[in-house]
Symmetry: C2
Subunit: 780 residues, 2 copies
């Protein structure tokens, strides 16, 4: 293959993309200044916010320390894995891939860290603003603009990173980008899992003792877990989510660029950058036009207005860009690459329709998720009604709502993929690129979506700070409650969209996987490559069915481990909070202060410990399947993980969201209202939903990406050691066995920790090792 | 292809198989006589048992009426679908396929009905025996022998049906067997779903009002739902389960025979009959050696002894049969059929190892399920411990146990499939046959397994009858409680084994599907068939990924619908029981008798209504995917359904079983014992688990088989209307659209029924239509 170059206007466009990415970062800086310049409320508020800030930073620092080890190991392994089909030098590309792995991981970490640092400051300012006149509009603006910062960082750094790689590595950019995407996804997955465990351990633990046993309200300062709960909102919902969305952005872009090169050549490395460049511009518009009008029923109206407007602008601008940039008819060399002349429309319309499919998909998921989780709609109403027959029926109703809603989301996503597929006509390669372009279409809305999502935890935390400080009047409290409710829905929507990007990106990456197999087989001297690949990827082959079953199994295991981790850590929190109530009787009449720091410490330590097993599973399971069962089984493995993962992720997110809002429904006075048995039943449903929606569910998105990228990275090695002169069954099976053993050891070790934890400083021991009085039954 | 004949010893073997099948039926008759000749207890007991019998028969009669419509429609459609590659006349084979569809459905219905009829009589006799001296051994024997009847019916009718088809249709037997298997699976699925809804609606409804609100024990005659609950045990756990296991038996046999012909020719139509013939013999041994010794800790010890002994005997006899019957080396015509000479072992050892894999798989699943659901083991202990922090943590702990246990079962099943796959060496066809043979190996244990499983509901019901009649002393009650606990574990084990047969049969049927595609493509005039099929089945094709996603989605939707149906029907039961307590105040002091029949009526009607939507979904979803997205997407659809279905089925069965036993653990005195908040928490967990383990979970097994067989049946039509002269996109898409519309309409209609139901005779209306007093909150 001849070397690929970037010339003339193509070079200019990539430079423009990089510059606009920097502009977005500039806007982020400006917004930071604006947010920080607002009022910081009362001394009480500042003290509480300070404690939250401190806990959050301590957690993040510790998490980065843990992850640094993983990053170092990954860099080394990454450098050892073979690469194929390069224009430039192998060593240079390998170094680039490792380097940009670090950059991807660093960006992911930075966005999470910076977003969280700003959020902990914005919480306070939102709470302060709610006290003032016109507080509703002001508070909403601060919260949304803080989200805007994270949004700009996400799109800015994602686009900048990808543009730089394309500028520097040109034809070898796809290989280097695999490193970039992998770094982003790996870090994001760890931050999602760790943050998710922290936030829900604290939340569940706080609720179980506070609301259920002691009958004190949420965010009551007498609850020792309350600061940890607020820290959790920041480390889980802010830092974890921001990293996750950055990862979605980066990986989708990577998939589009890899396939772009394979289909459109040099132009295919440029057009996928033009689409998100337009997305950056519309994100800027979206964030700045989001203003709550006094006539708006609630904040969601303002946010939806911004979302749909910026989506529409994106669609129009992308269409114009495609018409100007892409050729009307298929050039001969493109047709040759695609291997088919049976193409329904020209390049312009492939691009336009695909991108519009992505944008429409985002809107459809937004509507669908809203239907299944909004308080006024039938599903949540039904769950609320089932509280009349007790907690068991609430749990069952939520589970069936979740299962069904997952199906509708899967149908919508499936329709999107199938629509893009049809654009490819006779060329599977073009179909895959169309799927990837639909992904970039979805990305044009990411700026606003991140802003929407970050909005949630900030409002939640602002409410916490206001509540704990006691320095807020009724009107201010109402404002914050309203914002918090809006935040619940936006959070659910973001999760739906994130999983949609996972499916699109993962589907597209399949194309890269297949072409990597082809190249590697050629290198290994295989002659009848077409037949070989077809046999490898035949879904009816029992070996591949086993792979598929394993892929689905990993999703179940990962979810089970994450939920289990929350149960265990929450148990530890419960015993600690109970201990404090028992040993410091002055807490209840407010003459003694709980030791908040202890609970923060427990959550921090447990989250670090518990994230290792699911993390190892995500990285090593594809290694075990690929080296052990072969490249074909690995492909089916990925397919199984995508299928089961999509449904599981939406199921967990939506049943959790629906339970949360069913609780709010009862709290607003339905079916007996606060304090009734119905309320108790919905609180139980909500608690079950906590790790569903905030730990296991959202982590499945980066999980799928990590497994896809690991597979892509190891594919050449798997083929090399399976076929031809370098075939080495012993080595292959050996690697697989080691991977399996490490996973098994991690699972066994994590199982050895008992579910119910000891109290005080005695965390390591099983309850049976010590005083059994701690195991007193809950007081109903 | 030359016509296939059965000659000489082959003919003899098939006749012997048929005769031995009849012998099994004779044993069934003898056991029936033996069971019915035992004592029938007190008048009180007889009255109660009579009411249960009556309710169960009424339900089954109504169910068969509903299903008759489905059967008629299916027969007509079956006759219209094209067939390919026949030795004999097309019309004869089509008539045979339709006829044996009716036979399969009839056998399935008969086994369910007869098993249930006998069970309702055996319940009474077990309860009566428990009152006598030596009651423990006697009661156990009656219960297990009744199970034995169902076991003999299952293996006898399954083997007899298959042997007759082979005798009559010879080379065309595979096509006719598709009808036989489909009939069995379709009926079984409906009986599983309908029975599952009935039993859990009654159970959950009874518990919610009785245990939770009125604080009266289970099976208390003052509870209006208590007869319905006992009827449910018979229609769900007995009739539904028996039909399901017959279906597993029949479909596995069908898959083995189809592939047997394709690989070993005429011998391949005989050997898969020899293996279950041996199974029949060992089942007879197993049932008759099961005798509780006074030294046995509990009934499970006796059952396990019988299971492992008959499994070992099977393995030895099958090995001898293979060595005698199959050639040592590969005959030339077999090698030609297999398309490869790279085969690791000869036919004898392929057969022996594959069958042993199946037997070992059954034992492994038995052990694994036992670990995750037995009271003494860590997982159930952990769930019990989590009851100290309330119902939410119980639910979470059970869910994570279920998710993880599903993974281990999937690993074991996957290992079995992979082991069988390796036997095939270079021939995928041989690999598939090995998988099917592993399935027949698993089948050799089915006789004992059915006996084990039926044992559960009989003991449960005997306890109910004894409890309600009041005519039992403490020792007798203890005996029945012990038997009931054993029944819980055997039920969970059976579900695990049933899903394993689903995976093996479905994997094997993939081979038939692929070869059906090949034949159909040849008929349609396609020349480059190999490449065409490979492209069709390539898992990396986005179209196929969409199919896979839809397959996984159907499993989620089906589960959600089933759980939802139970919630809705249980709500109706709750309101009816509450109404009776309110309107007949004499019930509580036993001066008035509740109207048991009303609750039975509600459950009967609701079960019929609610089973239609999941039933239509199972039959029509593959039709929509196949005709709409093509044969390739349909294959991936099946793969996705197998992957997600296996995990979902085990997850639902095991978390349900674990919750049930965690409740028993607390009831036995742990963590506060009966009446404590911990007990309340585990009761909630158990209630959540009820529709998991007895409605949604077990129905997934026949669901997978139904979808597989529908796909196999429509494959020729899909190909015919896609490729070549008969290609007709309009017709294809039209059929798909109609299928989608019917599914959508069914889902919408079933949604229109509100969750909480009205009381009394007012069942059809929403609660909002009437007196709101019925919607009183639960009394905590």
């Amino acid at each position: 293959m001849s070397e690929l170059t970037l010339e003339g206007s193509n070079l200019t466009y990539v430079v423009i993309a990089a510059v606009i990415a920097l502009v977005a970062l500039g806007f982020a800086g400006a917004l930071v200044k604006a947010v920080l310049s607002t009022g910081t409320g009362t001394k009480n508020m500042q003290e509480i916010a300070g404690a939250v800030q401190e806990g959050a930073s301590a957690y993040l620092f510790r998490q980065f320390k843990t992850l640094a080890i993983f990053v170092v190991i990954a860099v080394v392994l990454l450098f050892l894995l073979p690469v194929h089909d390069l224009d430039g030098s192998e060593t240079a590309v390998k170094i680039g891939r490792s380097l940009f792995f670090i950059v991807g991981a660093g960006f992911s970490a930075f966005i999470g860290g910076a977003g969280m640092a700003l959020a902990t400051r914005a919480n306070l300012r939102v709470a302060a603003a709610a006290r003032e006149d016109g507080g509703r509009e002001k508070a909403m603006q601060i919260a949304f603009r803080t989200g805007g910062v994270v949004g700009f960082l996400t799109v800015g750094l994602g686009l900048f990173g990808a543009a730089v790689v394309v500028l520097v590595y040109k034809g070898d950019a796809p290989t280097v980008l695999e490193g970039f995407g992998f770094g982003a996804a790996l870090l994001a997955m760890f931050m999602r899992v760790g943050g998710g465990i922290f936030t829900k351990a604290a939340d569940v633990g706080a609720d179980l003792v506070g609301k259920v046993e002691q009958n004190i309200p949420e965010d009551d300062p007498r609850n020792a877990a309350t600061i940890a709960d607020n820290v959790g909102d920041n480390v889980g919902d802010c830092a974890g989510m921001a990293a996750d969305l950055f990862e979605s952005y980066a990986v989708t872009l990577v998939a589009a660029l890899i396939l772009g090169k394979a289909t459109f050549g040099a132009d295919g490395l440029v057009f996928p950058l033009i689409v998100p460049t337009i997305g950056v511009l519309t994100a800027i518009i979206g964030v700045f036009i989001t203003r709550l009008r006094p006539s708006d029923r609630n904040g969601l109206v303002a946010i939806n207005r911004a979302f749909y407007l910026s989506a529409a602008i994106s669609a129009v601008l992308v269409a114009i860009a495609a018409l100007l940039y892409l050729p009307k008819e298929w050039p001969a060399d493109w047709l040759q690459r695609l291997g088919s002349t049976d193409l329904p429309v020209g390049p312009q319309w492939v691009a336009i329709i695909a991108v519009v499919i992505g944008i429409v998909l985002a809107a459809a998921i937004q509507a669908l998720t809203g239907y299944f989780t909004e308080t006024e709609k039938r599903p949540v109403q039904d769950i609320g009604k089932s509280s009349l027959t007790g907690p068991a029926t609430v749990v069952l109703a939520g589970i069936s709502v979740g299962l069904e809603s997952a199906v509708y989301s899967a149908l919508v996503i499936g329709a999107g993929v199938f629509g893009a597929y049809l654009l490819g006509g006779g060329s599977v390669l073009l179909s895959l690129f169309a799927v990837a372009l639909a992904g970039t279409g979805l990305l044009t809305t990411v700026g606003v979506i991140v802003a929407m999502d970050t909005f949630g935890p900030i409002s939640d935390n602002a409410q916490g700070i206001a509540e704990m400080s006691g320095d807020i009047d009724e009107r201010g409290a109402r404002t914050l409650t309203e914002l918090d409710a809006v935040g619940n829905t936006t959070k659910a929507i973001t999760k739906g969209i994130a999983i949609a990007t996972a499916v699109l990106a993962a589907t597209a990456l399949f194309g890269s996987y297949t072409s990597s197999l082809t190249t590697s087989l050629a290198d290994a001297g295989e002659t009848n490559i077409g037949a070989y690949v077809s046999d490898l990827l035949n879904v009816a082959n029992p070996r591949n069915l086993v792979g598929l079953l394993l892929g689905a199994a990993v999703v179940f295991l990962f979810s089970g481990l994450a939920i289990n981790a929350v149960s265990r850590s929450a148990g530890a929190v419960v015993f600690e909070v109970r201990r404090q109530f028992r040993e410091f009787p002055g807490i209840m009449d407010r003459t003694q202060r709980p030791e908040y720091g202890k609970v923060v410490d427990i959550c921090t330590r447990d989250a670090q410990r518990e994230l290792i097993t699911p993390g190892l599973l995500a990285v090593l399971a594809p290694v075990a399947v690929g080296f052990g069962l072969g490249a074909g089984a690995l492909a089916s493995y990925l397919a199984g993980a995508i299928g089961a993962g999509t449904l599981m992720a939406v199921f967990l997110a939506n049943s959790g969201g629906a339970w949360d809002n069913a609780k709010k429904l009862v709290e607003d006075g339905s079916y007996g209202g606060k304090g009734s048995p119905s309320h108790a039943a919905t609180v139980i449903g909500d608690t079950v939903g906590d790790p569903f929606k905030d730990t296991a569910g959202p982590a499945i998105n980066p999980l799928i990406k990590v497994m896809n990228l690991v597979s892509l990275l190891i594919a050449p090695a798997v083929v090399m050691w399976s076929v031809g002169d370098d075939a080495n069954t012993g080595l292959r099976v050996g690697i697989a066995v080691v991977a399996v053993l490490i996973i098994a050891a991690a699972v066994v070790v994590s199982k050895r920790r008992p579910i119910a934890m000891a109290d005080g400083d005695d965390q390591g021991k099983a309850p049976s090792d010590q005083d059994d009085d701690d195991l007193e039954p809950v007081k109903a």
